[in-house]
């Protein structure tokens, strides 16, 4: 945390993203966006050895 604090200034109240009914902290929003990015990447990124396995079967 101290290392992160050296990079990001954490000495302030939490920041929130608000859009109509939606109210979410920036920290949680970043995690959700990261999960979506990792999910999409997992679907499209080539898996090592996949072509070989398909060829074997």
């Amino acid at each position: 945390m101290e290392l992160l604090a050296a990079i990001f200034n954490l000495n302030h109240y939490g920041r929130y993203f608000t859009w109509h009914w939606l109210n979410i902290s920036i920290a949680n929003l970043i995690v959700v966006v990261l999960m979506v990015i990792v999910f999409v990447t997992a679907l499209v990124a080539p898996f090592p050895g996949r072509a070989k396995r398909k060829g074997d079967q």
Binding site: L34, M35, V38, F39, A42, L43, D56
Partner: protein, 205 residues
């Protein structure tokens, strides 16, 4: 004609278990080719992080709050516990999305889906009681913020978020036990029914 030994419940249970779970099914050598995709790694990532959560939780239980609040080693293990939980939920949510869009309940896998979903709910309870068990101002703040919501559901008399002892017991005994037993059942069901194939593989067969 069946003998007396054949009729024993131990004999019948053993025969049933051996027929349902032969060794090659419990620990298979290979998986179908469609499992070679990154989307299939998030289940095992969730399992690995759960193992780390339990391990670090056991160390925190042995050493106690003064240690995790005041020593460098305690801070380190406390942080490992927190970040293992972050990875656990991160991977579990992606695992859930992947299985949802695969309709992973196909092929008589409804119980596999249900045990996974219930494990997710139990884990949320475990994480929540973990926040309440920190024994610092953060846990006090969270408990006072949560009490009205919990009391409005009517379960406040049995699940009192202001009772640190009760929340700690839920966090270190009941909920981890539930999560681990359900996870074991979930994995056994995955082994029993096999990994759900993609839609195109199902339509071929």
């Amino acid at each position: 004609m069946s003998t007396e030994i054949d009729r024993q419940w131990t004999t019948r249970t053993r025969k049933r278990m051996v027929s349902a779970f032969p060794a090659e099914k419990l620990l298979p050598d290979t998986q179908p080719s469609y499992v070679a995709s990154w989307i299939y790694v998030f289940g095992v990532t969730t399992l690995a992080s759960l193992a780390m959560v339990i391990l670090t939780g056991c160390i925190l239980s042995i050493r106690g709050p003064v240690w995790w609040h005041q020593s460098s080693e305690g801070h380190f293990v406390n942080s490992l516990h927190l970040w293992s939980v972050e990875v656990f939920f991160f991977a579990m949510v992606i695992h859930l999305w992947g299985k949802y869009f695969m309709a992973a309940w196909r092929g008589k896998r409804a119980m596999t889906w249900i045990t996974g979903a219930v494990t997710f709910l139990v884990s949320i309870g475990a994480a929540f009681t973990g926040y309440l068990s920190q024994s610092n101002f953060d846990s006090q703040w969270i408990s006072t913020q949560a009490k009205d919501g919990i009391n409005s559901t009517g379960i406040g008399a049995y699940f009192n978020v202001l009772n640190l002892g009760q929340m700690l017991m839920w966090h270190i005994v009941l909920l981890p036990l539930g999560a681990v037993v359900l996870t074991a059942l979930h994995v056994v069901l995955v082994r029993y029914r096999g990994v759900v194939p993609p839609f195109e593989e199902s339509s071929k067969s």
